[in-house]
Symmetry: C2
Subunit: 186 residues, 2 copies
């Protein structure tokens, strides 16, 4: 049984600390009584305030329509404790199974959106659709993170970064170069 990390509220404008390194995330959604989870690696931070993030959610995914119609999702950050689950979520379709039930994941109620949080993840970012201008052409959604939940320990969890072909590179050691930064760049 996977543990449920103890979350605390986290400043939405600092989501980059967890998303900018480029980890694989689990995107959860809910619409009209259904819920789903997808695995996603094509994401980028776009702005600090409002806290904007861009996600490329291909229309080939069952989640695409649910996220578009509900205008909401949750970006959940799994660690390597969930590696096999991350892969299985990414290789099955919510059109056929309830991934929460199938993979033993716990849906926890979010505060500001209807999409569920995944309790086994290290962090969860509640998102509302901010701009769909590039959805038709590129399946690219711009979301605002409206609430962030983060487990404060460990400060730098071991995350999964996908390279394609079934291979992940894991986050490793942490280094600081703070002394080389201009104060306004920190």
């Amino acid at each position: 049984m996977t543990k449920h990390p103890k979350w605390q509220d986290f400043p939405v404008g600092e989501a980059r600390r967890y998303l900018e390194p480029g980890p694989i995330v689990l995107v959860s959604s809910a619409h009209e009584g259904a819920r789903n989870i997808m695995t996603l690696g094509w994401q980028t931070i776009l702005e600090f305030s409002p806290s904007l993030v861009g996600l490329m959610i291909s229309r080939g995914n069952h989640s695409h329509r649910m996220i578009r119609d509900s205008g909401e999702c949750v970006i959940n950050l799994p660690t390597t404790a969930l590696t096999d689950t991350v892969v299985r979520v990414g290789n099955t379709s919510g059109a056929k199974i309830d991934k929460f039930a199938e993979f033993g994941l716990t849906a926890r109620e979010a505060e500001k959106v209807s999409a569920p949080l995944i309790a086994e993840c290290h962090a969860a970012f509640e998102c509302r659709l901010h701009d769909d201008a590039l959805v038709d052409k590129y399946d690219f959604f711009i979301f605002e993170i409206v609430k962030a939940h983060v487990a404060p320990v460990p400060a730098h969890p071991e995350t999964l970064h996908y390279t394609g072909n079934g291979v992940f590179v894991l986050s490793g050691k942490t280094i600081s170069r703070k002394s080389l930064f201009e104060p306004w760049m920190l």
Copy 2:
């Protein structure tokens, strides 16, 4: 003196192998006799074919105008051998210095664009502007990678992933879960 990795041609549609893990990159540009480099972490793969990548290049950067006006850039992938250079490039302005000269970086001629390749990097992706629809509103550029140069060794170089506050997490060990993937998902 930093080595110049020996590049080979690489399929543009497989750029995700190096960019999807979310590394910090050095974006080089050239316009009207000037050249520049910026450090960037806000990027995502958007499509395999054409090979599209989205970069959030803030208008606060000297490079923004050069890239917009030239419609070109090169995304260079530094390894941890260049850590201090990456930070210094990110904390100085091309309005005041020539970063190639200042930081001892070697500009190599690209094949399909005027922006220079950075010879000290592990890989370099020549890019042409594909869509500027979100530049005015979000400083978000969609580029097509039109030529890719990659050093084949090591297969998974040690890259820098930024968390803010002067702290980087490095890419660590590599794991495969290929056996858990559906064949069409690889």
